[in-house]
């Protein structure tokens, strides 16, 4: 994922005509269960020339789910699932549909409102 973030940042930087990227605001969904320290280390370790002095601002976005059947909304922490299931959700967050059901009506038909994926919210740089 760190490789993907670096690669996507460079693509955006090149598209915007930046010589250097100085700051990245990165959002990480809770479902990904990414350890921020390890992720930051990986981002720095893979540092490409355009990002050599970049500051990575990482922020976790909590997982909010909403049942499509009864419209009940709830917060969810995949770490509550037990090791095997939470590890599966870490790799492919959508498999939460296998392990999670609406606490009110029991349906697995819920929407992941927030808390999935990793995305670059904004980039600052020098032209």
């Amino acid at each position: 994922m760190a490789e993907a973030v670096n690669s996507a940042a460079v693509e955006v930087g090149e598209k915007e005509g930046l010589k250097e990227i100085t700051e990245l605001n990165i959002r990480i969904g809770r479902l990904q269960q990414i350890d921020l320290k390890i992720f930051e280390f990986a981002l720095s370790h893979l540092r490409v020339p355009m990002l050599k002095n970049a500051k990575f601002n990482l922020k976790i976005v909590e997982a909010e789910l909403k049942c499509r059947a009864c419209e009940h909304g709830w917060s969810f922490n995949p770490e509550d699932l037990g090791q095997d299931a939470s590890e599966s959700v870490h790799f492919i967050p959508e498999v939460a549909h296998v392990y999670v059901k609406c606490p009110k009506c029991g349906s697995p038909d819920f929407e992941i409102i927030t808390g999935r994926g990793v995305w670059i919210e904004s980039i600052k740089g020098v032209r």
Binding site: A4, I92, E94
Partner: protein, 245 residues
Amino acid sequence: MVDPRLSIVNKRLAKVKKIIAVSSGKGGVGKSLIASTLALILSKRGHRVGLLDLDFTGPSTHVILNTEGYSPKEEEGVIPPEAHGMKYMSIVYYTRDQPTPMRGEDMSNAIIELFAITRWEALDFLIIDMPPGIADATLDMIRLIERIGFLIVTTPSKLAFETVEKLILLLKDLKIPIVGIVENMKMKESNFIREEAEEQNIPYLGEISFDPWVEDSIGDVDKLLQTEFAQNVRKTTSNILQLNP
């Protein structure tokens, strides 16, 4: 907002020479059996092969190949395990073979995620077992995967081909390469599919007779490769290799 996964999907596939999506507009035409057997035969012929089961809501290649006990290794992404001489990846590693009810957006996200995390490394062929239809998975493959070609599976049935033809028209309209068409479960002489392929200017890659014994070979790769079905897939494989050197 930038989704970084999209920038890495094709980098993950950079060392894969040919990507073939075994597809059909219709379900139940034998895509998974053909995809699995094609991958096995290519591997037996000395090619480096990967097989990816993209039928998230109804995966079955793990049953055909009996891959119980295999799991990917986590190392800067995930490395698919080697099963029967080929790299094998499926969502069942993460669903523990439980029902996986996903709607379109979730399906798309899961597909992107799987391609973003999987390290295929150097392969001659990546065979993808596609879900039926022309919905999310097909559209995502077209949108995301450069260099993809579609191998189309149909049965001799006019009803099946009615739906299969819609996939062909979609692919042609979008100028997506079609590797060819395979006619599966053939029970009597008929030129219907061959003529339709000619009319559509698509290579007819061969017919596979209906083999009542293939069911007994599910889960036993050695037995599967001895069936008349596999013998027919060998001919199809030769035709694919001849047309795609």
